[in-house]
Assembly symmetry: C2
Homo-oligomer: 351 residues x 2
């Protein structure tokens, strides 16, 4: 996938221009819609039409996976929470389930790399399973290149299925104890920043565990940088293998495929944004198809959004993961589309 010839086309400049003109002609004071005006223009561009449709068929996929590094004290929770939460998603009782039900968003949970057999679960949940967990990224590569490629391709097939189901907007969610560690490592590596400047507390670790988490992430960065010094700069897919995980690689493949297919993606927290950074490195320009749903409390997420040139729609101090922040932001996207589509034009009013 990563080596394939790029098939990316940018969002429609023509629709963007038409939308900016329409926005200026609405029966509202200039600029009065604030960010919703800009978001409406982006929607027109990614949909290639003005006015944009209000996206009704919004589809979230939760990429679940465990991480070898989680056994080394980087999380407040044991890895057994991951399969328990996969069952909670399947039962529709998780945070993202409640939000998705409220805002009419379709949710699908997939076991990409959960360190459990999940006996008795709907077999569809495991159709794209790559492996159990990953190797501890501070000691060795998290994945082989073959596993990474397989995960990227799985993500692309998952995106294709969701698009075939009519997705007008896609969301990538995550579940996996320890997953802020690989996500933070990928962002630190991509931004060229040390672990100490980007690492957050994930689900809520204490000061000692936080220092330890920074150390492990820095070990991973040092390990990869040492290889780069010896062999030359690593390709993005090699970085993903070294510091990522199969669930993250699948989400990256999902985002690259969405951008190539011209379907917009609404980003969630630090996991999704790390994957977006990698997707944009694998397929330069992919980020033009992404919008940021919410600002998480993880410093790496804000830093990576700045790099991508994206500003979040919501800032509610959420740090739940699961795609929850993006699902919570779906109504904001619909608001923006509805305003640009349905508000009268000044030229229609008799003043």
């Amino acid at each position: 996938m990563a080596d394939a010839m790029s098939t990316l086309t940018p969002p429609s400049a023509q629709a963007r221009t038409a939308a900016a003109e329409r926005l200026a002609g609405l029966a509202t004071p200039a600029g009065a819609l604030g960010r919703l005006g800009e978001l409406g223009v982006w929607l027109a561009a990614v949909q290639g039409q003005c006015p944009p449709l209000v996206p009704q068929n919004v589809r979230a996929v939760i990429f679940a996976g465990d991480h070898g590094v989680a056994a080394h004290g980087v999380s407040a929770y044991p890895a057994a929470v991951t399969p328990a939460m996969v069952r909670t998603f399947a039962a529709g009782r998780a945070g993202v389930s409640a939000l998705a039900h409220t805002h009419d968003v379709h949710v699908r949970v997939l076991d990409i790399a959960v360190d459990d057999d999940l006996e008795g679960i709907d077999p569809d949940v495991q159709r794209f399973k790559i492996r159990r967990s990953s190797e501890p990224l501070h000691l060795t590569d998290a994945l082989t290149m073959a596993e990474t490629q397989a995960a990227l391709e799985a993500g692309a097939r998952i995106a294709a299925e969701e698009i075939a189901a009519g997705a007008q907007l896609l969301i990538s969610g995550d579940m996996g104890i320890g997953n802020t560690t690989p996500a933070t490592a990928l962002i630190a590596m991509s931004l060229g920043m040390p672990a100490v400047e980007v690492t957050g507390r994930g689900t809520g670790i204490d000061d000692a565990a936080w220092e330890h988490k920074k150390d492990l992430i820095q070990q991973g960065l040092d390990r990869v940088n040492a290889r780069a010094d010896q062999d030359g700069e690593l390709r993005p897919v090699e970085i993903l293998a070294a510091l990522g995980g199969a669930d993250l690689a699948a989400a990256v493949g999902f985002m690259v495929a969405a951008a190539r297919a011209g379907v917009p993606v609404l980003l969630d927290g630090v996991i999704a944004v790390a994957c977006a950074v990698m997707a944009d490195r694998i397929e330069p320009g992919a980020a033009a198809w992404f919008a940021a749903g919410h600002r998480s409390t993880e410093p790496a997420q804000s830093l990576a959004l700045d790099k991508l040139g994206l500003e979040p729609l919501l800032d509610l101090g959420m740090r739940l993961g699961e795609g929850s922040g993006a699902v919570a932001a779906v109504p904001v996207v619909r608001s923006a589309a509805a305003l640009l589509r349905d508000v009268a034009l000044l030229s229609e009013l008799a003043i």
Copy 2:
């Protein structure tokens, strides 16, 4: 109304406690829901039940009115826009209409003080009309005390009608060229701040008009302060008569009545927040029934929200009025209720 014996009861402490306990027991990391967790607890308290219902019957009332001060160069738009926009609301083609349709919010527009006969409009729109426009507040009192009382009582009757229609959450919207001037004056007077520190650009005036607007607001403040020096401190209703307008007074009456009836109100921008400040002065404790929908670009709105102890849910740079920021925030309120209501408890998971 203002002199009536208080009938306010605070939101339920029992439901608040139960909700805080439920929040702590959800199958999410502690604090991971951020502001949505706190908002869910507030919803439980104002509904008097835990878990809270997801508010489906949300009703917005747009209080339309003109302002005498608008003839003195404080707005970028002529007063003829007010009746044109009332017709646009009635036709369902305004900004708030598009948002309300998208998020299933009921909208009702009422001509409280539009400086136009609005010939041919549905007579229900004018059932609560108090007068045409108001007196220029920098020169003289905007309203008589009798008009102010009539507007407060009209607002209370309107709230009663909306509550009888099943409102689970109320929104007060506004339309009126020049209305940020009385709203800013009311906030400045309540906060004891000079006009220069609180006055914004409304719909987008240039620097010269902005300076002029500050001057007129300060003239109004000086006029009222001079009276207070002579006759003693003015009652909140007297300040509303001096610096408000019939549309604002009706919105104040609406909020006081909602709080007394135990129905929560989601606040919009500077007009609604100015009315909320006055409602809380007329009926101390009313603000416990209010939440802030969005942060407007008007400095007076943020300063007044601080005074009320409220933090907005959205911060999207909107300055449209109409109740639009509050309607855009309705899905956030629904998200909060759904999370506290529908997410599994940790005790239900088998980990």
